[in-house]
């Protein structure tokens, strides 16, 4: 299985064949996405969730994504450092992945790697994104349910409100609640995400102050379901059992409303689109219409010195004139 993920990451035809072979077995495992700014405690939280999920008898696969250096192409993958106590547990499989130039918080093949874990019998897959502030929106289409991890601290609340991160979470975890400011941040989130209370006046500082399921979710703001807000300390474990309950309730609600199904279908559509784009690009490269090396394309463009759209269109037209038609079975 580890080899299978390597093969898929390498992006060749072998990996593609493997995906097609395993595809019928991709399946019903739940996929939990964990995102949030750098150092918020995502990995530590995943470590805690692993303990909870193992206690429930789940077999859990973790895909932990960290950024590749744009300069050297190398990467320091440190997420599993926080999950070390699960390293020897055969019911846990942790795989670190580098972004390899992909932008959006995940790797190009995260969804396929999650499929491999599912095919291998893991009943829950957790995906941890890179911690890069605002570009983690991809996790929305990769996971069934998204946890956003935030921490109290200077300027954090304001920053959080601005970022797109406020639109992607099903559950907002105010982590490091052992530090000061957690209750305040939770109040700000409750106001911003659920329209509840005025953060300046709010006095409900307890994690379970009854806000969680108040009222009809359809009358609350937010895309489909109003996000939940939970305090936790991943480091000392407090709030994690409650978080698991919230997670299960949220999943149940997403399923009952049909939203889970919509998300999974949207994920498949996104994957198909990605595969189609890669295939078209491969087709262009195979026929020499687009060189493998983007710098070479640039040099030719500079020599041509006309508009970029026209430059590309003429290359395509020339290739088609030469018999490389995109129609019928020729595109195979």
């Amino acid at each position: 299985m580890a080899r299978a993920i390597t093969l898929i990451e390498s992006g060749g035809s072998e990996g593609e064949a493997l995906i097609d072979l395993l595809y019928p077995h991709f399946g019903p495992a739940r996929i939990i996405g964990v995102t949030g700014p750098p150092g918020a405690g995502k990995s530590t939280l995943v470590d805690g969730l692993l303990t909870e999920l193992r206690r429930r008898g789940e077999r859990v696969g973790v895909l932990a994504v960290d950024p590749s250096s744009p300069f050297s192409g190398g990467a320091l993958l440190g997420d599993r450092l926080r999950m070390a106590r699960h390293a020897a547990d055969s019911g846990v499989f942790i795989r670190s992945m580098a972004t390899r130039g992909h932008w959006g918080g995940l790797t190009l093949v995260t969804t396929e790697a999650a499929g491999v874990l599912q095919a291998a019998g893991f009943t829950t897959v957790i995906i941890e994104t890179v911690g890069v502030g605002q570009s983690e929106v991809e996790i929305m289409s990769a996971a069934d349910v998204v946890l956003v991890v935030l921490v109290p601290g200077a300027g954090d609340d304001i920053q959080a409100l601005k970022a797109g991160i406020m639109e992607i979470g099903d559950i907002y975890v105010v982590n490091k609640s052992d530090l000061p400011g957690a209750a305040e941040l939770a109040a700000v989130l409750r106001f911003a995400l659920r329209g509840e209370g005025n953060p300046a006046l709010d006095e409900s500082e307890h994690p379970d102050s009854g806000h969680a399921d108040s009222g009809d979710p359809n009358t609350l703001p937010g895309p489909v379901h109003a996000p939940q807000i939970r305090l936790a300390s991943a480091l000392n474990g407090s709030g994690l059992a409650e978080l698991m309950v919230t997670l299960e309730q949220t999943e149940a609600r997403l399923q009952a409303s049909g939203e889970l199904d919509r998300r999974r279908r949207r994920r498949s559509a996104t994957e198909l689109e990605r595969i189609a784009q890669a295939a078209v690009r491969g087709w262009l490269v195979d026929r020499g219409i687009v060189p493998v090396d983007p710098d070479q394309l640039l040099r030719e463009f500079e020599r041509d010195n006309r508009g970029p759209h026209r430059f590309i269109r003429e290359r395509l037209e020339e290739a088609i004139r030469n018999g490389n038609r995109l129609s019928g079975g020729a595109s195979k």
């Binding site: 080899r3 050297s72 190398g74 440190g78 390293a87 055969s90 942790i94």
Partner: protein, 135 residues
Amino acid sequence: MAKRVRILIAKPGLDGHDRGAKFIARGLRDAGYEVIYTGIRQTPESIVATAIQEDVGFIGLSLLSGAHNELFPRIVELLRRENAEDIVVFGGGIIPDEDIPQLKSAGLRAIFTPGATLKQIIEFIESCQHDRNLS
């Protein structure tokens, strides 16, 4: 696309000094490798499980506590048991010269003592990669 070289930097044993291990990990990242760092005080079993899950080509072991004669060969032996002996294992730390022959015959491919440079480690990795691509 070329297969990326993945390296596990692991600290078995009881010593908690990981500055050296982290220095090597960062240096290897800057040289273009994907480096996974386990953290301190890992058991041989968890190091081997990690190496297999991460599908690494190399394991670099760092140890200052003096238990290398016991722990390094144990890790090589566990890899063998898991049919993962194609993973190249090298070691570093405070290791007396007289222990090196014994470690090498136990299956460690290289030992880097405190005077070794990052460049030497990278050259070692590259030469192993070269041999691998030939076979």
